[in-house]
Symmetry: C2
Amino acid sequence: MGISEKKRAIYESMLDLVEAYGFHGASMSLLAKEAKVAAGTIYHYFSSKDELLKELYIYCKEQVEDWVLAELDERQPYKERFYKRWLSLYEFYTAHPKVLVFFEQYINSPYNQERSPHHFRGGFFQFLKEGVDEGYLKEAKPELYVALYMGSVILAAKIKIFGSISFDMEDRKLLVTKLWTTLAAG
Amino acid sequence: MGISEKKRAIYESMLDLVEAYGFHGASMSLLAKEAKVAAGTIYHYFSSKDELLKELYIYCKEQVEDWVLAELDERQPYKERFYKRWLSLYEFYTAHPKVLVFFEQYINSPYNQERSPHHFRGGFFQFLKEGVDEGYLKEAKPELYVALYMGSVILAAKIKIFGSISFDMEDRKLLVTKLWTTLAAG
DNA sequence: TGCACCCGAATGAACGTTCGATCAATAAAG
DNA sequence: CTTTATTGATCGAACGTTCATTCGGGTGCA
């Protein structure tokens, strides 16, 4: 059944507003206007602004996971998946800059209760952990690899979005290759 | 002469508030209370909240640069400086989490007009560019190296701050070593 | 009739900012 | 050596605006 059309409009409009006016400037009245919905209607779906933002965060997280998993073939060898995941993430974030901007503002705000960067729970941390456990990656704290792997995806995407520099597919593959030769065992 | 004591109190209090309540929750009245200053006094030093935040950003950037440069010996070989810069940055951000949190929220908000991550102007980008130009680092777009280098520092610091995982000096050196062997020429 | 959905004006709290009143200190005048 | 201006820093109550949220009423389908 999926989520209601109105709800989706509210989510997407909120992302637009956060991108345009920042976390603080994204008011409920603006949101109502942007989503073409009455102010009260928003409160039919969400009990408060805080909750809306929390649910928007989950909504975005799911979008990322879905995107990556859709492109991923679990039967492929580890190395292929290592490449694919990085490239998929880069593509998602550069294709959806507002999600990246929202994430960055959300994570570093007190809305984020757990306060740990979101790239830990979920499939992604497991994937790197699995790499270490099964001997594809050199023995080390998987968190350390998260720093290198996710750090480079996110910053590369930000550079693309904010800066004028564009990384073509060759650049991206070069970067992942460097990452792989650094982390891979054997 | 340096900046006024009041001004510094306002800066530091604003960092505290942004860390505790987020960008949106850091109001001028709270700031006045926190800095033990009347509301009007803030406007003696800053023409608006926007300007205060912009100047706070510059204030923080200078702090980072000063910290790194203070520990750095320009006469040392490139490789040493490559290590030192990463470790200094990690130490600064983990010692001053509120600066990191403020940066992340500021950069991704519309206050940041230039919209390019701040790690570009300034000494870092030059340092990596210099490495490529002078043949210490393998030929590639320096921006690509920024993604790997800064991305890993920032995310490692965030993991330390938010998560319960702590990277000891050995872990950190291991990470930089991986970084070096990946980027270094020859 | 009932229930879920939707509306938008109304509400009080909170926001950023202003402003006239002090205060302390230094300079000028007697 | 006092007294009187002048200045910049500081205060906090007050202002108009905008905010998140509420509420009473409407609409359409079961």
